[in-house]
């Protein structure tokens, strides 16, 4: 494991040194941002190297490489934030962006910045460049393997596309409260998508995964083969699927990725900004029952090598495991420094931003429900007529009314306690607090997803994880076509 000290040295060498800056330069930069009336300022330096390989028709036809970087400067006064950024990292850019950001207020006392304290969280992944360590030939070979496996799996497979991507990201945060922290964040992912055509019907299946580790691990773990087979399996299931039912019925959600339910139904509604502003259906409800007994939901940025994990967040706060709902009772919100301060709470390591060119907000990391006591087979047996959904596309929530949706990409009917026919993807709709009160059985089979989630909020995308055990909701609305 790379030490945090090594990550810090690497961040200084990568981000500051090339533009002629050192740690003293950070103090000068912050002074520009700490204009009259400003009570908090921070500088966020970032550089990313991103690589993408795409296979189609058995050949890698697209390969791309992207380098991005710059510095984002925030200056805050109470609830007000001024923000500016630059693609250049040097003393002039810091002076210009700092003065611009601090223009949000023009009068008041000038704050003295606190002495620098290097914050280092426990490393949650190795601070390495995930792109190196696997040759271009090996990357191409991995995608070609996925193609061969998928095509060999079934004659109805007509198209295979596979993609491999990796990001090497180095960040450094320096804030007027004295915080200075760095993080080196690898992120890789492999995806396989297939089209199967049979008897005039056409269906898609897809699978993928990854995390914060070297690309070579994707090869060593043989995921190209696993995901190729899984994508074909899903497409074949969907080729046999009939129309989904419409109306209210019991719904059983499989373990793992269906945890997107928690992300939409409760996660967003528990982000600090919405609760400070009172715009969330969960606002002011700490200590109240918001879910069935037995339901415990956490947001955990500390999970080793996970897609949603961070050693320190984008404000330099070490990541942590925050219990959001404990045994059905609302216990906490996810916070960044601004919202924590304004609500008189502590930051929870949930400040995240898409890049230096975006302002941080409270965001989820890895959000999951802890395991219960029920056997998955007993959960299925308990349903006389309902839906069993095991894979999903995307979801969305209106945090004010609490209404959420998520769309199944693989689902089955449950009839007389048995899983029967596959049904076409249906959208499920519910109300967050009400749906969590419908949870009546919780499996012992808690699983995290394979590492594919992207969460969008106010136009900013960040990688996240979800997870849950097999779960029964007594009643949810299923949006099929068979009424």
């Amino acid at each position: 494991m790379t030490s945090q000290a090594a990550s810090f040295d690497e961040a200084v060498a990568t981000l500051l040194t090339p533009g002629g800056l050192d740690l003293g330069g950070l103090d000068t930069g912050l002074r520009h941002a700490l204009g009259p009336g400003i009570d908090y300022a921070d500088l966020y330096f970032q550089r990313t190297w991103q690589e993408g390989w795409v296979l189609e028709d058995g050949e890698v036809k697209e390969a791309s490489y992207n380098i991005d970087g710059g510095v984002g400067v925030r200056a805050m006064a109470g609830e007000k934030t001024g923000f500016a950024y630059s693609n250049q990292i040097n003393a002039d850019a810091l002076a210009e962006t700092g003065r611009t950001a601090s223009g949000i207020v023009r009068s008041g006392a000038t704050l003295t910045q606190a002495p620098r304290i290097q914050v280092s969280g426990e490393p949650r992944y190795a601070g390495i460049d995930p792109l190196s360590g696997l040759s271009a030939e090996d990357k191409v070979a991995m995608l070609k393997l996925a193609d061969r496996v998928a095509r060999a799996a079934d004659p109805s497979v007509s198209q295979v596309s596979a993609s491999l991507s990796g990001v090497y990201e180095v960040v450094l945060v320096s804030a007027s409260d004295g915080t200075v922290a760095a993080d080196v964040r690898p992120l890789v992912r492999l995806n396989v998508s297939v089209i199967a055509v049979k008897n005039g019907r056409r269906e898609r299946g897809s699978a993928g995964g990854g995390g914060r580790y070297p690309m070579a691990r994707l090869r060593d773990e043989g995921v190209a083969e696993t995901y190729a087979k899984e994508a074909v399996r899903q497409a074949l299931v969907n080729l046999e699927a009939t129309d989904a039912p419409a109306g209210q019925m019991p719904v059983v959600l499989g373990a793992g990725w269906p945890g997107i339910l928690l992300h939409e139904a409760v996660g967003h509604g528990l982000e600090g900004d919405f609760n400070r502003k009172g715009s969330s259906a969960f606002a002011g409800r700490i200590g109240e029952r918001v879910a069935s007994p037995g339901v415990t939901v956490v947001d955990d940025g500390t999970l080793m090598d996970r897609r949603g994990s961070m050693s320190v967040d984008d404000e330099g706060t070490p990541s942590q495991c925050t219990t959001l709902i404990e045994d059905g009772i609302l216990t906490g919100y996810m916070q960044d420094k601004l919202n924590a301060r304004l609500m008189g709470m502590a930051p929870t390591g949930n400040a995240r931003r898409e890049s230096f060119a975006h302002m941080p907000m409270p965001r989820m990391t890895n959000t999951y429900m802890r395991a219960g006591m029920d056997y998955p087979q007993d959960i299925i047996k308990s349903v006389s007529r309902g839906l069993y959904a095991v894979s999903f596309g995307g979801g969305q929530v209106d945090i004010t009314s609490g209404k959420f949706v998520f769309s199944a990409s693989e689902a089955y009917l449950i009839e007389d306690g048995r899983i029967t026919a596959p049904v076409k993807g249906a959208t499920l709709i519910g109300n967050g607090p009400e749906a969590m009160g419908q949870v009546s059985m919780i499996g012992h089979d808690m699983e995290l997803d394979t590492g594919i989630g992207v969460c969008g909020k106010e136009g900013q995308g960040v990688p996240v994880g979800v997870g849950q055990p097999t779960l029964k909701l007594d009643e949810l609305t299923v949006g099929g076509t068979q009424s």
Partner: protein
Amino acid sequence: MTQAFDARAQQAVLESRAETALELARRLGADACEVGASVDQGTGVSVREGDVESVELSRDQGIAVTVYLGKRKGSASSTDASDASIKSVVEKAIAIASYTGEDPASGLADAELMATELPDLDVHHPWALDTDKAIELALACEAAGLAEPGIRSSDGASLSSGEGVRVYANSHGFLGSQRGSRHSLSCLLIAEDASGMQRDYDYTSARDPRALRDPAEVGRSAAERTLQRLGGQRPQTGRFPVMFDPTLASGLIGHLMSALAGGAIYRDASFLCGRLGETLFPEWFSLAEQPMLVGGMASSPFDGDGVQTRNNRFIEQGRLASYMLSAYSARRLGMQTTANAGGARNLRLEAPLESREALLSKMDRGVLVTELMGQGVNGVTGDYSRGAAGFWVENGQIQHPVEEFTIAGNLAGMFQGLVGLGDDIDTRGSIHSGSWLIDEMTIAGS
């Protein structure tokens, strides 16, 4: 807080960067090359509950290079536009191209298709707006909304104003550049009664700031939309006619265009594969693209391949008349490009239009949908199932708000089942459409 932006000077800089990259690629042995470069600058302010919440100044630039070594292709990009960076981007694109496989369809669009008519389409209207004025407009918008009885609070009003330049050049000697601007003002409000909280919003957006709606009017209309939603009930499960509000109808056209994009067709990933020439819509319905509209939201004389854009007709009297193709997807399908690299530009419906009242009366009993949630649209099969909110209609009259239900069907069936189009056209985006009335979909509610 203002920043100077000289669009003409920036355009010259970008054109010179693009030429530099092309020349470098040629010297380093690329057989062909294309370059995209852009600079965008903007101001965004947001206010909430009568005070400033944030002021954001943005300036983004980027350069993207694609090189061809024979039939192999490699791409690289960066936000660092220094000479040293341009050199490393070109080198990286060439390095990575040597690892890709040969693709017979790969390469630039044919040289004779390059755009030669490059008129000014009047899409650049910078706004000399200082931060104080921007804040004042956003505050006026929010205040008008908050003044409406029943509005509990505001989740903020935002004003954003931006302009930019983009350049596309390739080794055929083509170089096209365009300056553009976009300004918008939006307001998001919250209302509350015994039934709970509801939010809704309204916005105005235009290339020319003079075309923006009055801020107070935007705030009042956001308030009206929010208040109408209070007390929503769940509609009954069953099969009913569904009317899509104009703000959502453009999304249906978007789904159609995604399904007839060349990339989806050659990948076998569209429910419209092999259906060219077939009847998809009623015969009174046609869909045209007008990329050279003066002042249009998506106007451009050249596409993402440098090809001269043209007036396409995708649906002609109900028939699927053309796929939407780039040079690459056209080669894959053995067809000609339709100059749609980068998508469709300014879509317009040609059909008889009816008033909203006439459409509601034609519907008689069903659901008027004003909001959709989630991504439940499968372009491979056309299956459609999305969360919705709107109003219940009886005897052609709006009765009460409805929420927490889904509408489901299949896009092919929905297009065939189109029974009327409204004259209430939403002109804010690049797709202009009024309401759509679909004869029957499945509603899943209580």
